[in-house]
């Protein structure tokens, strides 16, 4: 109740924390109310216990997962942008590539991990590649859509100056698509984490994926959930980082 008495600005600032608090409350509440046993779905307190007790290994594995993800994601962004530009700029490429991209992305990327292991051994490289493979598609889709739906009037502003396709792309196409590019980053970063973790569960000696698998095979669900929480927290950190950049770069589009 006292939350409602705060200034709207303060409310906005506290919003994410309040939401997290609420979620934790609901989580613990449900678990208790339904009497879900710890080895199926541990509550907040059990998970927090595990997190505190194992904070050192969890932090170490999280760090590994974090960097793996960031690298895979970075490659995904670059490739996604490139493919998005290719697919979005030419009707022919749009028709040719889109079905294939959809087909490729409907395949669970876990299926590729064993193949990657053969070529790169277990560990960081397959995880990076998996994170990349899983995360580039949303970026392609939004960049391509942004470019394909660019208003011809805006393009004309540059074309009338004799601008080359590249100029049109960089001065109008991409800036115009920026809000949706950032939107796709939000999806892509979550997928990159999923990719890394999945790869780590199949082929790694470290990382949160390994931790979860290791804890899982010992039936230590609170520790598994501690791993999940670690992923979530890292994803939120990345989100805040992108939100910050987005805020600076696409303020013009969010002008309410």
């Amino acid at each position: 109740m006292s939350f409602l008495r705060l200034s709207p600005e303060m409310q906005l600032r506290l919003a994410p924390w309040a939401a997290v608090a609420l979620l934790l409350l609901i989580w613990e509440g449900t678990v208790r109310a339904l009497g879900v046993p710890q080895y199926i779905f541990p509550g907040v307190i059990d998970t927090a216990d595990a997190l505190i007790q194992f904070h050192q290994p969890v932090a170490r594995h999280a760090w590994q997962t974090f960097w793996t993800t960031v690298i895979g994601f970075a490659i995904g962004v670059v490739v996604g942008l490139l493919l998005g530009v290719i697919v979005g700029s030419s009707k022919f490429m749009y028709r040719a590539c889109y079905p294939l991209l959809v087909a490729f992305n409907a395949i669970p990327k876990v299926a590729f991990v064993p193949i990657l292991v053969v070529w790169f051994g277990i560990g960081t490289v397959p995880a990076i590649i998996t994170a990349f493979l899983i995360s580039f598609f949303p970026i392609v889709v939004n960049v391509a859509t942004g470019l394909a739906t660019l208003e011809p009037e805006m393009e004309d502003v540059l074309r009338v100056l004799g601008a080359k396709r590249r100029d049109v792309l960089f001065k109008v196409g991409l800036p115009r698509s920026l809000p949706y590019f950032f939107a796709s980053l939000k999806v892509a970063i979550t997928l990159a984490f999923v990719g890394t973790v999945v790869s780590e569960t199949v082929a790694s000696n470290q990382g949160i994926g390994y931790l979860m698998m290791s804890a899982g095979s010992q039936m230590r669900m609170p520790l598994v959930f501690a791993g999940l929480v670690a992923i979530s927290v890292m994803a939120m950190v990345m989100y805040q980082f992108f939100a910050w950049i987005e805020n600076r770069m696409t303020g013009w589009a969010h002008r309410r």
Binding site: P37, F54, P57, G121, T201, A203, S204, N205, Q218, L223
Partner: protein, 319 residues
């Protein structure tokens, strides 16, 4: 000059991987002029693929999967088993006493849960045949390895198959005590399959035969020390993975030793050796139940005993 060996375990760093990790940590491999790097695995069958494909030089994987691989891929780069670790298959059937199941015959008409790659499930026809049961008198639910114990605990299924030392511990952590369970380990119920073995790629064997011998010598030392002091051996597991629970891995290791390593046959012939007759027999059984048609390998194709340490050195079991 040392020889590098990339070694693939069957699974996570758990109690049963203690002898490998101990040999590495204590420098037994170094003493043999080897630089061994050990990676965790994602299944004892997957190990075969990873060694065959060249991602790893040697590994710890399932002998029956090796047979299947050799039969299915006659043109692929070959690999051989060089050392038996689990003389008996760790596969077992678990049921709750409360379900009224007491012996294999009671399983008829029941539902069992196991992953489709589970050794116990794949070798089920052998178990059934050995116990006068129609193989297709049971139905199966295909589930993730970690899920089957849950389904048994919550009575969603009547029984499960799984590795003895894994499923028992998982069931215990769900509050089901050993005495509330009916456990039918495959070796005790007439299934003579071997379990996990050390495999090496043939091209690696050709290139570094002495390295393979060295590896097995060092491993035997590690195994001897492990059998001597299982509790201490688990230290080396914790060294690699500080997340595992010590007590649980000690128990797991002891169960593995008890059920699959320290068997009468192993005590008699020494650790690591294979009984060619039994191997021939089980290859035939595997070919039968796995429906391998052509190219079924001979016992010599599957097991290469050239690198076993001297038998005396392999008589490592404490009294």
């Amino acid at each position: 000059d040392t020889v590098d060996i990339d070694f693939q375990l069957d699974w996570r760093f758990e109690g049963p991987s203690a002898p490998f990790l101990m040999s590495a940590s204590r420098g037994y491999f170094e003493d043999e002029g080897l630089d061994v790097s050990i990676d965790s695995g994602s299944g004892s069958a997957e190990t075969i693929n990873r060694v065959a494909s060249g991602a790893y030089d040697m590994g710890f994987g399932d002998l029956n999967a090796l047979v299947e691989f050799l039969a299915n891929n006659p043109d692929a780069p070959s690999l051989s088993a060089v050392f038996v670790v689990y003389d008996g298959s760790p596969a077992a059937v678990f049921a709750k006493k409360s379900s009224g199941i007491e012996e294999p015959a009671d399983l008829a008409g029941k539902t069992l849960a196991a992953p489709s790659f589970d050794t116990g499930r794949r070798a089920w026809p052998l178990f059934a045949r050995a116990n006068d049961l129609e193989a297709d008198s049971v139905s199966w639910d295909s589930v993730d390895p970690a899920l089957r114990e849950q389904l048994l605990a919550s009575d969603d299924v009547d029984a499960i198959t799984g590795f003895y030392f894994t499923s028992l511990l998982n069931l215990e952590s769900r509050g089901i005590a050993e005495e509330d369970l009916v456990i039918m380990p495959f070796p005790e119920y007439g299934v003579e399959l071997y379990g996990n073995v050390i495999v090496a790629r043939d091209s690696f064997i050709e290139e570094h035969p002495e390295a393979v011998s060295g590896f097995l010598r060092a491993f035997t030392r590690g195994m001897a020390a492990t059998l001597e002091d299982p509790d201490g051996a688990v230290d080396y597991v914790l060294e690699r993975d500080d997340l595992v629970e010590r007590d649980m891995e000690v128990r797991r290791l002891k169960l593995a030793i008890e059920g699959s390593i320290d068997t009468p046959a192993a005590r008699e012939n020494g650790l690591g050796a294979v009984d060619m007759e039994r191997l021939e027999l089980t290859i035939g059984q595997v070919a039968d139940v796995f429906e391998l048609e052509d190219n079924v390998p001979s016992a010599e194709d599957v097991f290469n005993s050239d690198f076993l340490p001297d038998q005396d050195d392999r008589m490592v079991f404490p009294d």
